[in-house]
Symmetry: C2
Subunit: 326 residues, 2 copies
């Protein structure tokens, strides 16, 4: 599959941001080791999701692309698909729950997509989606269990391999914020091929650590709760059917962090790296800071920064002032 990732990198070149691998000497001094942060919050639409979406839309035939694409998402995948489609003049339909945050609905519309709202309690989103897709001949782009999506997210791993080499990083863990596993599995394939000393490890919020438990047991596990996490961007019921075998083959042990650790990592990223992270995008940095299990350099993928100011202020209220150490 590495060939698909290399092909994806060519497709998205000049469109996706080659995000920097950030480092802070003051953070390193606090932590006692080098911490590098792959700043995917600086990706177009504020998260890595643009990579997979752009790759999927651009790999369609002209005919299919002209008919359009459809996606289910209340969050980052919606914006990635909407922008990719608009850039390539493809119609895009995004199915969102009617109780999704107004800002996300507005942003998705502002990116040119047709937003179809459904009532979570009384309507079946798959039914609505299937009907629209077949009526209009739309192509479904899945948020993680889709080879085109996985290949697109894998381009982040190609960049990490190159940037780690340039920074003289030897053996290191690469901590990845993990929902359904699209980003983690894509990165894991790229690292296996180009930087085998870098070991990908999925990071999840406590209580939603389906991937960690699936890796530990060797079989797909499901979360009891489906919602109610501050880290909503990376909460999924279970790893994907395509992503899980890839993660099983290439990833180290999973790590689960608390919501409070994610908020603390957001404040550290604010203070030391000058980037804005959403809670779900901060769990990998939280693992690097508060769940350390070796003294090596470490790379944390900061997967997204789409956070409301109220949640960001909560992180700064708790951890923004006082003790300047992490």
């Amino acid at each position: 599959m590495i060939d698909d990732i290399v092909a994806a990198a060519k497709r998205i070149e000049g469109h996706a941001v080659r995000t920097p691998l950030l480092n802070s000497p003051l953070l390193d001094a606090d932590a006692g080791r080098r911490i590098f942060v792959k700043a995917e919050c600086l990706q177009k639409t504020g998260s890595f999701k643009y990579r997979g979406a752009r790759n999927a839309v651009s790999s369609l035939t002209d005919e299919k692309r002209a008919r359009g694409v459809i996606a289910f998402s209340s969050g980052n995948h919606a914006q990635g698909v909407a922008l990719s489609a608009r850039e390539m003049s493809a119609p895009a339909v995004i199915i969102m729950p009617s109780d999704a945050p107004q800002m996300k609905i507005d942003n998705t519309r502002a990116l040119g997509a047709e937003v179809v709202l459904y009532d979570r309690a009384n309507e079946d989103r798959d039914e609505i989606g299937d009907k629209l897709a077949s009526e209009r001949g739309l192509e479904l782009i899945r948020p993680f269990d889709d080879l085109r999506t996985i290949a697109g997210q894998g381009t982040c791993g190609l960049e990490i391999a190159e940037q780690a080499h340039a920074a003289n990083i030897g053996a290191a863990n690469v901590l990845v914020c993990c929902g359904g596993g699209g980003l983690t599995s894509g990165i894991s394939i790229a690292l296996k091929a180009n930087a085998p000393d870098l070991v990908p490890r999925p990071v999840e919020p406590e209580g939603f650590d389906d991937v960690k438990r699936s890796l530990a047991t060797g079989a797909i596990q499901t979360n009891n709760r489906r919602s109610g996490s501050l880290c909503d961007a990376i909460v999924t019921p279970s790893p994907g059917k395509l992503t899980f075998p890839i993660m099983k083959a290439h990833c180290g042990t999973g790590i689960a962090v608390t919501e409070d650790e994610a908020l603390r990592a957001m404040a550290v990223a604010f203070r030391r790296l000058k980037i804005v992270l959403e809670p779900g995008g901060a769990v990998a940095l939280a693992a690097a800071l508060y769940h350390r299990d070796d003294d090596n350099d470490v790379i944390a993928v900061a997967s997204g920064g789409n956070v409301d100011s109220t949640v960001f202020q909560m992180a700064l209220d708790k951890y923004g002032t006082g003790d300047a150490r992490c």
Copy 2:
């Protein structure tokens, strides 16, 4: 002087961050034109100052470097010099007022510098500095009126020229947060040589617009007030003797923005670009958003992100929620 900037770029390569030129489709939609942000807040130590400091320290002879460097600064220049010196194993002395924020004193010490505090009311910092410099043979690195510093800051302009070309930006203003003019003059030389369609324009806070008035009158003007701006990082009494003639030769009209506009731009940068800006680092973006005088693409240099959480929260309290438009 373009040769000095090219030489500086070689010296700092692999040490300084090649900061990204960020863009947000949603911000462009709000603004009705393309806005690009050169994110120098992501530079090492959180501001562009590392560029000039690293160039100055690395251009010393081995013998001079071994004796060490000295700088006067309560802010970003201090951290840039301290880190550059530590990286090259040079002793560094930073003279700071005893009432500087404790965090800045702590950060400068954490970067390995010897911090010498002086009492603003009763002591003369130049006297203290001269005495230390002559006793120990230290090399003074000035924050802006120093050709080595200007050449280092100019490397930001080389990158802007390349990145603007890659983004198909034609004729455009390049808005630069301006204090003493080190960054503005350096960038102006680089653009004149490599991208003459890009016009540098200094941006300052209202009430501290010495450069704007100096350019308008053709002679160096001084601010009445010396302190009391939220944009403290870019408040200086007047443009430099070296920087002013360069700016006069190459820059367009200056722009002055209010503190409130700077806070509003900080909230926009948080929401749309996922970067943390200090008020002084946000004035250029504020000018792009609220002092528009053409419909062209525009580039704003976001010069730094070293802001206390209390000031950042002030920006989010005022402009973080509610209307999502800029």
